[in-house]
């Protein structure tokens, strides 16, 4: 096969997939935010919108929202700078979709004499690329604040850009520490370095060799800074729903507002991907290396089937109980939906249970272990990312908001010195070693 063409195809397909990931995550995250906040506050959250009676636990609400946002009137203020006003939301959205292009989704596969990459570009300055692109996103917020020609949006934009710039410093400082540790800036190598077990001064610990265990302080600083970077709750001063009208996007309506909203969620996804790739081993399954995955696909299949069976059973029990208690509430499909979904999940679980003996005797084709490995690693990455997205939601509905001066104090007087000190100590250790 023509290898240039093959590589082109490979990159195109992966770029498409990577472009889709945040876009697919956005409705999921909005749903997670709504349901998560509801459950944290002992409410049920959205559960009314339905398609043919199926409500899918409120997931359908997202589609209703999209329709609503698209059909709303799109107002552009008369005094606004039209060009920049239109540019700002697209700018924000664009720069929250691009940075994922440098994140590896799974280990590369070597098949006969071709190599399939699961990464769009393996830049040797991947981390710097990521960082520069995410900081371009701030410009969208400043533009939106300025171009609306409204004092309140301008103040909102200034507040948020000041916040994001000050936290970018400590974020960069914590990541420089990682660069010192890994001595590489491309994600492929950084993720690859995190395989195996954690060696601590010659002792082998029973912990995976993740960046978190190497640099816990850098991780904490990065985490706090990433909350500030994405304007999420303990630091959501730009929006501050309960204090301000909104921030930089007061003047925006309809789908342009939705773009800002979506770019905020896309930023969460992007930061979670970065977080996972740097500190939590990226696509690496803990304790199991890529080679081991390729060698023993049977065990992988067994474990996967077991997990699916148990999950199916759990969902079945929960949904049946829920449906039974609510049986007098609704009629028609709404009444039967939990039973249907529960039975479906139990059915899938049972199929995987029945398949277990079949896996043990199956002569799989030679490409199968490779494909399975890529799939498992991708799934592992997604699970980790979903956890960190959930952390964003979780923290938002747990903590109160910081005051502006507290925010700046924390950023400049506490986190930046700690990050610098951490950097200094780490560098000394690395030189001495």
């Amino acid at each position: 096969m023509n290898s240039a063409l093959f590589q082109f195809l490979n990159i195109t397909i992966i770029a498409f997939v990577v472009w889709l990931i945040p876009l697919q995550f956005i409705p999921f995250l909005i749903w997670l935010e709504r349901k998560g906040s509801a459950f944290i506050q002992d409410r049920v959250g959205p559960d009314r919108t339905d398609v043919l009676g199926f409500r899918l636990f409120g997931y359908i609400q997202n589609f209703a929202d999209v329709v609503k946002l698209l059909m709303k009137e799109d107002v552009i203020p008369l005094q606004a700078n039209r060009f920049y006003f239109l540019l700002a939301p697209f700018w924000s959205m664009m720069f929250s979709l691009i940075p994922l292009m440098s994140i590896p989704l799974a280990g590369s596969i070597h098949w006969i004499n071709t190599t399939i990459h699961f990464q769009v570009v393996n830049l040797n300055v991947g981390l710097l690329f990521f960082f520069s692109i995410t900081s371009m996103g701030i410009l969208g917020i400043v533009l939106a604040g300025w171009a609306s020609n409204n004092k309140f949006s301008l103040i909102g934009g200034l507040r948020s850009s000041a916040q994001m710039i000050s936290y970018e410093l400590s974020m960069a400082m914590s990541l420089i520490t990682l660069l010192v540790v890994y001595q590489h800036a491309d994600f492929q190598t950084i993720v690859h370095e995190q395989t195996g077990l954690y060696h601590f001064f010659g002792y082998t610990m029973c912990l995976p060799n993740w960046g978190f265990f190497l640099q816990p302080i850098a991780f904490l600083i990065f985490l706090v800074a990433s909350f500030a970077e994405t304007n999420r709750n303990p630091f959501d001063l730009p929006e501050g729903e309960s204090e301000l009208v909104a921030g930089y996007h007061v003047e925006y309506s309809s789908i342009k507002f939705a773009l800002f909203f979506m770019s905020e969620y896309a930023n969460m996804v992007v930061v979670s991907f970065l977080n996972v790739s740097l500190f939590w081993g990226g696509y690496e399954v803990p304790y199991v290396s890529t080679a081991q995955l390729i060698q023993s696909p049977r065990i992988v299949l067994l474990v996967l089937s077991g997990i699916i069976f148990i999950m199916g059973l759990l969902v079945f029990v929960v949904l049946f109980r829920h449906g039974w208690k609510q049986r007098t509430l609704y009629n028609g499909v709404k009444k039967w939906e939990p039973f249907l979904l529960g039975t479906g999940m139990a059915f899938i679980g049972l199929i995987f249970l029945i398949l277990i003996p079949f896996w043990l005797h199956w002569n799989f084709p030679a490409w199968f272990p490779l494909a399975l490995t890529a799939l498992v690693q991708f799934g592992c990455l997604i699970i980790k990312v979903v956890f960190f997205c959930w952390l964003f939601v979780w923290v938002r509905w747990t903590l109160p908001r910081f005051r502006y001066d507290q925010l700046m104090n924390l950023g400049w007087k506490i986190m930046l010195p700690i990050a610098m000190l951490n950097f200094l100590v780490t560098s000394i250790f690395v030189i001495l070693k």
Binding site: F39, D42, R43, W394, T398, L399
Partner: protein, 181 residues
Amino acid sequence: MRVVQRPKPKLMQSLYFIDIFKGLMLTLRHVIRNILNPDQMMVVYFPEQKKELPPPTRGRHRLMKREDGSPRCTACMLCATVCPAECIHILAGESTDTAIEKYPERFDIDMLRCVYCGFCVEACPLDAIRMDVPEVTVANYSREKLVYHKEFLLNHHNEDYVKNYNPPRPVIETHGPLARP
């Protein structure tokens, strides 16, 4: 004058992380409990389940009737005058009963403008208007239907409820010097 100093946070508190972790665990407990058993949440699934509103609820308006079924209202316009939202419109007609003199030919309340202040009830000298129909979902698909007319206000409520309605007297248990024998 005593100056109250803010309590200085301890070192562990000012590090935030431990307290944040405690808070996160608290909310996680709620999430897990509510996912595994969503039915123990204290939620009323509203249109399907309805809570019975207690008798003193300030609901929507109704007009009272005399024994013979005619409206008690004498179109004195006090309620229309006092209404801050200016949403009561009365057209007075001459009554055949000379003792009454006037009666409302039309009595419209624009529910879209009403702010539920209850001033109309207070103002009425004849107790002809009350706000005790326990309906809080005043909603409709057209604005015209939300202007309630005389016939609707007179008749369109659950008669049982209104008949059985005796304003409960609050039982105040008093002790000490205020206690009556």
